[in-house]
């Protein structure tokens, strides 16, 4: 049983807001220890799904559990197992950083939590701001405080809703280092982001949502193989390319030639033909397909 219990289990979840069907039968299983990405355009239902998991929104139909605890019936255990970093940059201007974290611990019934609070403040570079009022924190620091608040009760499952929106490069990097560490230590991570390169680099598995439905769900590696459109950029010493290739080779503004191909054999043949013609390749770059290509492709097809 314990082995089979998913960290997050979502079964045929439906939610309608007046005229829009935000979720239209979403089912997902995320296993303990996974770093899972949830991608989709604005309005796809990502935040609605997260809100239902967090108990902020109630589903019209379907079921959701966190570590086996139903988010409605068993809400106390479910919420104890879940840490949520909300998308909006919210804070309570009445309190300083340490007070905020102590109060948040108290909500989870944790009285003597200062050791752990100090540790998360240290890892999130908040220690030197502990006595600052939250109102005086920069946007990046407010974001880190939100992450810290989500972690006060050491939840096994952590949900991050667009955590790096509007965050500078340094903070983004340190945030991901910290989250990756938590993941290595066994925490399950569910992430939504608009930065597809982040999802590609971090997530082991990815689900894509569109109009409230899951349109793709697979390992990141398998998803990347869905598109086999490679691209090579060549610089040649002369312009007279073989006649047979003139249709496929495209000249760009800087004088380089581009070719899209799906099999490496095609590239090999081109290079052989060029040699026969006596044209020398002076420079070559290969572009592998990335998650953005796959994402665009899937969103177009579905």
């Amino acid at each position: 049983m314990s082995q089979a219990t998913p960290a997050i289990h979502v079964d045929d979840l439906r939610k309608r807001f007046r005229t829009t069907q935000a979720l239209d039968g979403v089912s997902l299983d995320i296993l303990p220890g996974e770093f899972f990405g949830l991608l989709g355009p604005n309005g796809a239902g990502k935040t609605t799904l997260i809100s239902i998991l967090a108990g902020l929104t109630r589903a019209d139909a379907g079921q959701a559990t966190i570590m086996g605890h139903d988010v409605v019936r068993d809400y106390r255990q479910a919420r104890r197992a879940l840490g949520v970093v909300p998308q909006e940059l919210v804070y309570d201007p009445f309190f300083n950083v340490r007070e905020t974290l102590r109060i948040q611990s108290g909500y989870f019934g944790l009285k003597h939590n200062d050791g752990w609070i100090d540790e998360i403040m240290h890892h999130l570079d908040l220690a030197q701001h502990a006595d600052k009022n939250t109102q005086s924190l920069s946007g990046g620091m407010k974001r880190r405080l939100l992450v810290a608040q989500a972690l006060v009760h050491k939840p096994p499952v952590i949900v991050l809703d667009e955590p790096t929106a509007g965050v500078d490069v340094d903070l983004r990097r340190s945030l991901w280092e910290f989250i990756s560490r938590l993941n290595r230590e066994g925490h399950t991570i569910l992430l939504t982001t608009h930065y597809l390169e982040e999802a590609e680099a971090l997530c082991g598995r990815i689900a894509m949502l569109k109009s409230g439905r899951v349109v793709a769900c697979d390992t990141t590696r398998n998803l990347l193989q869905l598109t086999n459109e490679h691209c090579a950029q060549l610089r040649l010493d002369r312009d007279d390319v073989p006649v047979a290739w003139q249709d496929r080779l495209l000249r760009d503004a800087e004088g380089s030639w581009r070719i899209n191909f799906s099999e490496y054999l095609e590239l090999e043949t081109l290079l052989a033909d060029l040699r026969v013609t006596g044209v020398r390749v002076t420079e070559m770059h290969l572009q592998e397909p990335d998650l953005e290509d796959v994402f665009t492709d899937i969103m177009k097809r579905t």
Binding site: F17, S51, A54, G55, L56, T57, R58, Y75, R76, Q77, R79, R80, L82, V84, P86, E88, V90, Y91, D92, P93, F94, F95, E99, I103, Q104, S105, G106, Y107, F108, G109, K111, Q149, H153
Partner: protein, 251 residues
Amino acid sequence: MSGFSALFYKELLRFWKVVVQTVVAPVVTALLYLLIFSHVLEAHVEVYPGVSYTSFLVPGLVMMSMLQNAFSNSSSSLIQSKMQGNIVFVLLPPLSYLEFFLAYLGAAILRGLIVGLGVWAVTLWYAPFQLPHPVWLLAYALLACAIMAAVGIVAGIWAEKYDQLAAFQNFLILPLTFLSGVFYSIHSLPPFWQAVSRVNPVFYLIDGFRYAFVGQSDTDPGLGLLVAGACFVAISALTLMLLKSGYKLRH
């Protein structure tokens, strides 16, 4: 109940951090009312035989301040959290709706009582200390603050913007407290307005509370306590029902 104590503590800390606005200011306002009204009316009005107008006015002002501040505490805390978005901090943890209710209620009651005590303390310079019925005072003070604290929770949950809350406060709470015999005895009113006053629950709160101070009242203080108790039960039931359903908090 440990989640409750954290939320209760947070609510106390919230108003204590702005104590000038939440406690000192209402005390000063009440003192101004006392100075002006007792200056104008002390020599002309004697509502109950043997009771000076200032002595009559003090309990009304204390009660009015308690009512307004208990309401203000829970309602403004909730609307601010909703507008700021930081209401999620209390919605994400495993707090039950009962803990939520009791924490906001308890903190608002305490703020009402502190303000009431403050108003009473400053009026001691103007009216002699007298308290023939301390148990009635305690019962009325607690019930009155509790009723308004719960009304404040409902208003804070219902209002979506500051001006909706301001409308609630200016068109409901303020008239109910002003037109309830703070400044006069309802026996001085024409029969129609007397009858209207008798359906205003705040009238019973002020009348009974005054009984604790001066030993005289417009109605039986026992009846008033019954009315107040019934009001508290009704408004609490409504509040708990709204919280349980997640009305305007969990969509």
